[in-house]
Symmetry: C3
């Protein structure tokens, strides 16, 4: 496994595939250290004198900001490079961009790219001791998002084994969903339900041990955790959905529908939310929503991953 070295340590965080339950638990325990007893994020010197470079080939103020804040809370020097995808259409140029930044002594790259596999490609270019975090590559993976979701679930539910988790929305195009499913399986979640119209479900996904639902009510019935996904408007243009209104009618998380889940069910969303489309405000802002808690934990999780990847290097 290219992201793990001979001693079992993480060199990069590209995917959650291949990470053991023990390792995920270790990352979650490390995350605990960055939150104090008042639920405040700590400020440490763990990355002092290190240089973290955010290389975003795809615009994302939100995700870039979370990594920038996490790195600064660890006292790293942070450089953000917004690269227009156009300028690096050729793989060769992407490689040169990375090699140049590495020559400037970047210790850690945080990469987002529109192409699946870009983070793996970048990890192959860098020299030993330089780490890469995949902050989203095409429709492929977004491992830190899945980790923060795990951390949030663990925070509330303590144990994963008896949970029923429903993931609702555009599964087929979601890198979040892909990483999420991997993570939940690793943690031993027995019942993973994917809830979406057929056009937004990947082909043959059921063979991987999840259950698909095209009916929202059935899908969230008795669930402990409901993870709503963002619906990208371009799915309409592609003809995969008739309209946002129709989507909300069938798959929007309303207060009414939420009652079908367990009483203590929690609601999650990776953000940014499209209120009134995938989720109603009364749910998003309601007592079962963990949405802002996810954002908060997200900083701590990213701090933990950054420390794990750079410690002793």
């Amino acid at each position: 496994m290219e992201q793990i070295d001979k001693n079992g340590n993480l060199k990069h965080l590209l995917t959650l595939e291949g990470l053991s339950q023990t390792y995920l638990n270790k990352l979650m325990s490390l995350t605990d250290k960055f939150i104090d007893k008042n639920n405040r994020l700590r400020h440490t010197d763990d990355l002092k004198d290190k240089t973290v470079v955010n290389v975003f080939f795809e615009a994302s103020t939100r995700t870039r900001t979370t990594f920038e804040i996490a790195a600064k809370r660890l006292s790293a020097d942070v450089i953000s490079v917004n690269v227009a995808t156009a300028a690096t259409a050729k793989g060769e140029s992407l490689r040169d961009t990375i090699l140049n930044l590495q020559a400037m002594q970047a210790d850690l790259f945080v990469c987002r790219h529109g192409d699946s596999g870009a983070a793996h490609f970048i990890a192959k270019q860098v020299k030993p001791g330089v780490a890469v975090i995949n902050a989203g590559d095409g429709c492929h993976e977004h491992p830190t998002q899945a980790l923060l979701d795990l951390y949030t679930i663990r925070h509330v539910k303590k144990d994963f084994s008896n949970l029923t988790v429903a993931i609702v929305g555009d599964i087929a195009h979601s890198r979040v969903a892909r990483s999420e499913i991997l993570a939940l399986k690793t943690m031993g979640v027995k019942h993973i339900r994917l809830v979406a119209p057929k056009t937004l479900l990947p082909a043959e996904i059921e063979s991987s041990g999840v259950t698909c639902y095209n009916n929202m009510e059935e899908g969230i019935q008795g669930a402990d955790v409901i993870i709503m996904l963002r619906l990208q408007k371009e799915r309409m243009d592609q003809g995969l959905l008739p309209s946002l209104r129709e989507y909300h009618h069938c798959y929007g998380l309303t207060a009414e529908r939420l009652k079908l889940a367990k009483k203590d069910a929690i609601v999650m969303h990776p953000g940014p939310m499209d209120r009134g489309v995938e989720i109603d405000s009364i749910v998003a802002d309601g007592p079962q929503s963990m949405i802002l808690q996810q954002v908060h934990f997200g900083i701590a999780v990213r701090m933990a991953v950054m420390v794990e990847l750079t410690a002793g290097k």
Copy 2:
């Protein structure tokens, strides 16, 4: 008053309305601490481990830079988020943006927005202990600009009570003017003159105790302080003014006109200046100009406000 807590402490700085003379004097004394005896800005640890987020919904490199420099001089972690107004056309989204940044543990928001009242709206969303500074909201207010102007006037004139202050230009559309008038009144300035063509004066403003002049020569006659405002070119398009040339002819501050003011009168401008329109270069760069001194004091004033809003939180 929503920006002041029960103990009379400032929670946010949204407006100068309701701030007492004592309080403004306190802020100016606090500002003194950030300038050393060589007139150099200090570098302190007052905001170490705190996160300041600049949320600019309206582009302003200049103002954003002043707050960024002020926060860094206080050793804060600074994140600048440039939000396209388009993306947050709906109030709901603006709220989500703020709640998300708050969840990332922002301690202080510096906000600029094209809509009047946006800073108040944002202040209502944040939880106790998180502060908001209004860095300009529509045509409404720009309190730190007015504070730095006060500080500059006090630096030169020591006492406010016997001053005649003329504010010249687009009063009707200026958030600076609005905050300025509030501040000058609070400090006990007896003679506040607004000098502008009728089309750029707010209706019924005289009832608030200021005197309006449509004639520049009369307006600045014997003044101690002349505050020139920036003229936005869009006022031409709106038909409020015939031409820039005509405006300069009637209201531009020339060396000739400046002689009508007191001999020791000072000239101020919030910047950026449109030389040759509202002010001539010989005046802007002349010995009576305090324009660059304003910029310098502006950093110290912003440092003072940031410390006041976050101290002990």
Copy 3:
């Protein structure tokens, strides 16, 4: 010489013209201090409490990033201001931008501008104790690039006096070439060869003691150092070159051609490279290439220059 004070110390770095061999050697020795024995860049407090402002009137993520990283490694507060050239078409406005940033207490400006001489203009505006680094002005100079090239050559070749250095490409429009030639001459390089088609060679350059070649093979024959320049695509539009393909055919550095140089010749390029046009990948990534080493040394050289310009001020 406007960039050197009475005591022979550098006030600004605008050009390499007029800097003595002793001085260039001094800068290179200072650079040594920022690289440790493991060839890692150091992190120091040399610019703690100082404010470095990158003012880029011309977009350049790459160069801006190198200065930003260099300044952060010295613990400076760094502000980057991207100014659209349009907004400062008039010299007056450029002056106001600089005077305002200076009033915010910038200690050091790093400037890039599309007009030759812009850095000199800026240096004339700032007050004593404030330094300006020219990070590229039009077709004029780019002194830190030339310095890092010198440093790289010295690192490998130790002595300059017996070297043959070939600079290949768009000499006429290259600020890098201009600074490079000055630097190489000062260091006593006897054989400086400029290799380019006639349309890309400045008129009457040979009178300055360099030798021009229109034939690539002759130009690099027996060279110790080959510096390839970037070819800007706009040269085609201007009719100075027939096509990229034709250019590569005549002036591209291929493995075949490289054999004509000395066996231990090194290949350099200021980046970003257009692989397949001015240089082949097998050469760019080959054992004689110093291209990434240049980038690495570039940070250390910029650290040295920044310290030299601010020390004791």
